[in-house]
Structures are given as C-alpha cells and as structure tokens.
C-alpha cells in the first residue's frame, strides 16, 4: 500500500509548475493588456507551453465576429479548451484541452487516494503509514486547490476573450502573444514559482502541524507500528484539564511573557543608555568603544551561548569557581529555577544590546545640533532635551525594529535550548523552568516524541503570534503605504 502511494506526491509536485502555471500566466497577461488598451487579446497561455507552435499564425482571420457570446464561451470551457476553440484560438484551446486530459488521466487516481488517506489515515498498519498518508493527503489537497484555481481561470479566460472579440479586437499571432505574456505577465513568472516553493516549505509544514494536533500521535502510538486516528479536540481538552498539562502550559506561558518583556526591555534600556553616554561629546576613543560594544553581536551566538553555559556551570564554571569563590559563595545557576532565569536574561541582554545600541547610535548622530542649541537658548534642562528631542527622534526611527526585537525574543529558541535545554526540570510539569513556548514544543517533539501535544501547543502559540503580527502590520507603515502604487 505504501508503495502504491509513493507516486502520488511526485506527480502532484509536477502539476503546479506545468498546469496552473500557464493558466496563471495567461490571466495577468491578458488582463493588463486590456487595461493598457495597447495589446488587446494577448494570449500568453497559448504561447507559453508551445515552443513548437511559435511562429505559426492561427488560421483565423483577424478582427472578429460581433456575435461572439461570452456566456457561451464560458459554458463551453467547462471542458477546458472548448471555450478557447469557440474563440478560434486553436493552439491555446488545444493546449488547454491537452493539459486537462493529461491531468484527468494522471492525477485523478492519486488525488482521490490522497484525499482518502487524509480522511481515514489508513486502515491496515502493515501497509499504511499514517504519517505518509497525512503528508500525501495535504499535498493532494493543495494540488486540488491549485487545479481549481487554474480551472476557474480557464473559464474566465474564455469569457474575457469572447468579450474582447465582440468588441472587435484582433487575435494576436502566437509570437506576439508570447511576447505579450512576458511583457505583462512578468510578475507572475516570478511570484508563482516563489509561492509554490513557499507553499511547500512554509505553508505545508504549518498545515501538517495543525492537523497533527487533532490526531493521537505520540511515543506510544506512532507509525509504522500503529495507525493514527482523528481524535477531534481531545488534545486541547487534555491540555486545559489535566493538571500536568495545564500547569505546564500556564507556567510556560507566564515565563514566556516575562522573558520576552524583561529580556527585551532590559537590552533596549541598556543599549539606549550606553548609546547616550558614548555619544557625549566629551568622550574620546568613540570608535574603539563602539567596536568593542558591537562584539557580542558580531561573534556568532551559537558559540557565545554555549560558552556562557559553560561559564555558569555549577561545579566547574568560571563564574562560581573564579569570580564568586572570592566572596565564598556558590550559586546554583543551572539547577535553581530562579537563578537559571536570571542567568539566561543576563546572557540575552549581553547578546542583544549591541544591535539596539548600533541602531540608536545611528539615529543620535543624525539628530541635528540645531535642536539642542535651540533648547539651550530656551534654557532647556538636560532632562527636557532628552524627553522632547532625543526620545522622539530615536523612537520614531527605530520603533518597528524594537518591536521586532520583542517578537524575536518571544521565539528565541537558540538561547534557551543551548544555554540549559529549558532546564532545570520542575516536578509536576512536563516543561523546564526556563522553557519558553517554542523550546517546550521542541522538547515535546524531539525528546519526548509527544507530537500531538506539541502540535496543539504550537497552534495556540501560532494564534498568539498571528494576532500580534496582524496588529503590528496594520500599524506599520508598509501596511498603510500598500496600495499607493
């Protein structure tokens, strides 16, 4: 069974690039052609697939029948191609028809199989691997959506060509159509392939994860030995009602929020303060100072976090052994929850302040001296100058990037995992004391193989992230400027 299914995704991967690609190419081409009024009746789709046909003119006379009926054309292209024949675009019609027949023959069985797998998740553990079926099912669903879009575009295309024919536009030669499609469809030649790739690498995994949250996939019930089943919202119910899960979820969420706010705010505050004092005209060696201050950003964090983890090590770390031993204290940095949290925030501030420092320094240097001189004339105090000149300038220029810093730390998996793997462990919880949502999800997935719970938590996390992202984008300038051109 597994082997029977293997061809499915292969075939489905081919389809987006050949089938709908040409249709999508057709749509914009003709459309913008119409709006420009310069190249009416461009037929990009006809040309795109046909290297062989280029140079041949369609044998129809140019100019056209006033009796072309758009509705008829649209209805005819319920079978792709016929509508185009009706419009006397023989080559385009033939290609559409050929593609439709090819897809119908090659794809119907695999797509039906794929959807079947998605619904049942297999019925014999000996031959079905539910994970594979799930992957194939999602891919099939994506292909179905793409094909449906292509199909709709085909009908639209026939309709539009008929409208144009009635208005008396000439049918272009294949060569001209090819040229026009490149001319006007250019954005689609770039965006469509990019988006197909993004669909595979970004959207598909997200869909997979969403679906996983509604299955019973964990260490004890995992393919290939067992089949997965759909369990509805059971995992979410468990997450909120069973004490080990609800307590962990609450603890992790609280720490994620504290971590994000405290670590990021501290690094911004420190950076702001340092940028201000280094920018003081009386301070010399500015270049050297700034270079050293950028070092934590320049050195790969992969290395520094692990070095810090070793430095904070309870027994042989240099902080306990060389520095604190002077005062005869030894702090359990990695085994006590509170100390671990303090240490990890310290490390993040160390790592994160140079970026903000550099941004703020850049803005400080660009503030015109006139502002401050004017303030001096008015007898403004230092505090007033900071409050009314420096702050607004800096915040205006850097606010979006500072907000990004919060978002970055919210998902800052690397530092949490490399520093202490989310530890130390907390009794009665499935999460460690320094686990933030993303590191907890990672631990559940790769250490405990509790895929269903990891997926359920990911969904909650994804909703939070998406909500804030949407809110932020709506306020950001790029969002508002959209549509200006």
């Amino acid at each position: 069974m597994t082997t029977e299914h293997t061809p499915t995704p292969r075939a489905s991967r081919v389809s987006p690039s050949s089938g709908p690609g040409s249709d999508l190419g057709a749509n914009p081409g003709t459309r913008s052609g119409a709006s420009m009024g310069a190249n009416p009746g461009a037929s990009p789709a006809a040309s795109r697939g046909t290297g062989s046909g280029s140079g041949l003119n369609p044998s129809t006379p140019p100019g056209a029948s006033a009796d072309a009926n758009p509705a008829t054309a649209a209805w005819l292209s319920v079978i792709p191609g016929l509508g185009q024949y009706y419009n006397r675009r023989w080559i385009k019609g033939t290609i559409f028809l050929a593609l439709a027949v090819l897809f119908a023959i090659a794809m119907t069985a695999p797509l039906i199989n794929g959807i079947w797998g998605l619904i049942t998740l297999g019925d014999d553990p000996a031959v079905d691997d539910s994970r594979t079926l799930l992957v194939q099912g999602i891919l099939s669903a994506i292909v179905v959506v793409i094909l449906a879009i292509a199909y709709a575009l085909n009908i639209k295309d026939a309709h539009r060509d008929a409208v144009r024919r009635r208005e008396g536009f000439a049918i272009p030669s294949v060569r001209k159509a090819f040229h026009d499609s490149w001319e006007h469809g250019f954005p689609y030649f770039i965006v469509v392939p990019t988006f197909l790739l993004l669909t595979m690498i970004v959207i598909f995994p997200l869909l997979f994860m969403v679906l996983l949250a509604f299955t019973n996939y964990n260490l004890y019930n995992s393919p290939p030995a067992h089949l997965l089943d759909w369990v509805g919202f059971e995992n979410f119910a468990q997450l909120f009602t069973e004490s080990i899960w609800s307590r962990s979820l609450l603890a992790v969420m609280a720490w994620t929020v504290v971590w994000t706010l405290v670590a990021t705010s501290l690094q911004i505050a420190l950076a702001f303060f340092l940028a201000m004092i280094v920018n003081d005209p009386r301070v010399r060696f500015k270049k050297l100072i700034r270079t050293v201050f950028i070092l934590p950003w320049a050195v790969p964090s992969f290395m520094t976090v692990l070095v810090f983890a070793a430095m904070f090590n309870d027994t042989f770390g240099t902080i306990n052994r060389d520095i604190l031993s002077v005062f005869n204290v030894s702090i359990p940095w990695l085994t006590d929850p509170t100390w671990a949290r303090i240490a990890i925030i310290f490390v993040q501030v160390w790592l994160g302040f140079p970026y903000v420092f550099t941004l703020v320094t850049g803005v400080l240097q660009s503030i015109s001296k006139d502002w401050y001189e004017a303030a001096d004339v008015d007898g403004g105090t230092r505090l007033a100058k900071f409050r009314y000149i420096t702050m607004p300038h800096v915040l205006y220029a850097t606010a979006p990037l500072l907000i990004m810093q919060y978002a970055y730390n919210f998902n800052n998996f690397n530092i949490i995992y490399l520093f202490n793997k989310g530890g130390p462990p907390v009794p009665g919880q499935s999460s460690g004391a320094t686990d933030i949502l993303i590191s907890w999800v990672y631990g559940l997935t790769f250490d405990q193989n509790n895929y269903k719970m990891a997926a359920a938590i990911s969904i909650i996390m994804g909703l939070v992230v998406a909500f804030f992202a949407f809110y932020q984008f709506r306020r950001s300038r790029s969002f508002r400027e959209e549509g200006m051109y």
Binding site: F186, L198, V283, A466
Partner: protein, 280 residues
C-alpha cells in the same frame, strides 16, 4: 571652576561605566580563547590562563585522523555558497516584482508573505523531515539548501523590498521609455543601487549555515555530511565538559572570520537594516 569639576566627575563616571562594560563583554570571549589553549580536553582542569598553553586543540582539529573538522568546514562552505547564491537571485527578483509591479493579487501575496515571516520554521520541522524523506532529499545538501533558502525568503524579501522602495521610480520609468525590458531594468538600473542590501542578504544567508546546528541536526544523518556547527555541537552535546576545549578551538575558528567580516560591513548592515526595517 565648580562647573568643570562636575563635568570631570561626569566624564569619569562615563568612562567607569564603559570600562565595566568592556570587562563584561570581553571576559567571556577571552575566557573561550583561554580555554581553547588548554592542553587537555577536560574542562575541570582548564583555566583562563593555562599553566602551559599550547595549540594542541587546534592541531588536533586539523591534523588528527579522527577529526572531521576540515570536512565539516568544506560541507558548510558548499551549503553556504549555494544558499547565498540562490537567496540573492530569488530575493532580488521577488522583491523587484513586489516593489515595482502592480499586478492582480499583489496585495494579498504581500500579506501572505508577511504572515509567513512570523511563524517560526521550527514549528514545522516534523513535516519538513517527512516531506524531505518522501522526495528523497533527506540527508542531502540539496534538501538543506532548499530549506535554508526558502525558509529565509519572506524575511529577506521584505528587507530588499523596503530598500528598493526608497529608490525613485523615475529611474526605471525612463529606462522603460527607452525600451528596456524587465530583466534589463533590474540588472542595469536597479542592481547597482540595491547592491548594498543584496550584499547584506548574501552575507546573512552565507553565515547562517555556519551558526545553525538545529536544521542540519534534523535533515542530515551521516556524520560525513555534518556542517561545522552541528559537528561542533556534537563535541559537547550529552557529555558536557568532555570536549569543551576542542569545541572552543573549533568555534573560535568560525567566529574569527565571521566577526571580522561583520565588523567591516557593519556600517552597511545598519543602514540596510534601518532602511529595510522602517520603510519595509
């Protein structure tokens, strides 16, 4: 008199703070260097200033037959180069289209890309693993490069688009009048102008594989295909402290070139990031 006293005090205070920051910043870095110069592999006996310092650990990395460090370095260079190349091409073209063309669906595509940017790719790692397994790209550099390139697309596209939006459109409009095609406008008119931000993208995408241990850990299986970060991580993973001196030596050799390039290019980085960030 009193005024200058106060000023002097202030400046001394500032220098004192800066000095304290110097110590905090440099101590861990110097400590790592010191550790890497300790002769043994154990961290229990390692010291910041070793009693008899040596380049044993560096020597081991390059010359010991059991060391695969140079192989890892080569693997990473391959992955990094292809990632940078593919990223610059794809990001440049897509950002160009987003910045300069008005097409049906543009707005929705941009929103979709923005939204993709916010979901951490880590969330979908299981699916990536299964997908690559299904198409036979597991444990290959191709799979790793595709993942890096496409995963980084949304963020990089906006970086470049934001920068490109600040370049006046009159330039390409007039080129268009003169009959320049799409690609010609991009390569002849815009490319020289957006070169700084593309350099940033190339640098970021080139450096990423050197620092990421997570993705290779999931995608790559055989040790001879390890990237350098994953290989070094395997030095210390599970047996913390055992090979820490070697790990320190190995990472310092990655950190040195990266930090140097970074310090040289930071001016471009900042202007690029600020432009892309505020206006993207």
């Amino acid at each position: 008199m009193k005024r200058s006293m106060k000023s002097n005090l202030e400046v001394s205070g500032i220098y004192l703070i800066i000095l304290a920051m110097f110590v905090i910043i440099l101590y861990p870095l110097l400590w790592a260097v010191g550790i890497s110069l300790n002769p043994g592999t154990s961290m229990f006996s390692a010291k910041l200033i070793p009693d008899n310092w040596s380049f044993d650990n560096y020597n081991w990395l390059f010359n010991d037959p059991r060391s695969e460090y140079t192989l890892w370095y080569k693997n990473t260079l391959i992955v990094a180069s292809f990632n940078a190349l593919a990223s610059v091409i794809m990001v440049g073209l897509t950002a160009f289209v987003f910045s300069r063309y008005h097409f049906v669906g543009r707005k929705n595509t941009i929103y979709a890309t923005l939204l993709m940017q916010v979901f951490p790719v880590l969330m979908g790692m299981v699916a990536i693993y299964l997908l690559l397994n299904l198409v036979g790209l597991l444990d290959t550099f191709t799979g790793l490069v595709i993942f890096y390139t496409v995963g980084g697309l949304p963020m990089n596209i906006f970086l470049v688009k934001g920068y490109m939006d600040t370049i006046p459109r009159d330039l390409d409009e007039s080129a268009k009048m003169d009959g320049a095609g799409h690609i010609r406008i991009l390569t002849r008119i815009l490319l020289p102008l957006i070169a700084p931000i593309l350099a940033v993208v190339a640098l970021f995408t080139f450096m990423a594989p050197f620092m990421d241990f997570l993705t290779p850990r999931i995608i790559l299986r055989s040790p001879e295909k390890y990237t350098v970060a994953l290989g070094l991580f395997s030095f210390i993973n599970d047996k913390m402290g055992n090979n820490f001196t070697r790990f320190a030596a190995g990472t310092i050799l990655i950190a040195l070139p990266i930090s140097t390039v970074f310090l040289f290019l930071q001016r471009y980085l900042i202007s690029g990031l600020a432009e892309g960030g505020t206006k993207g």
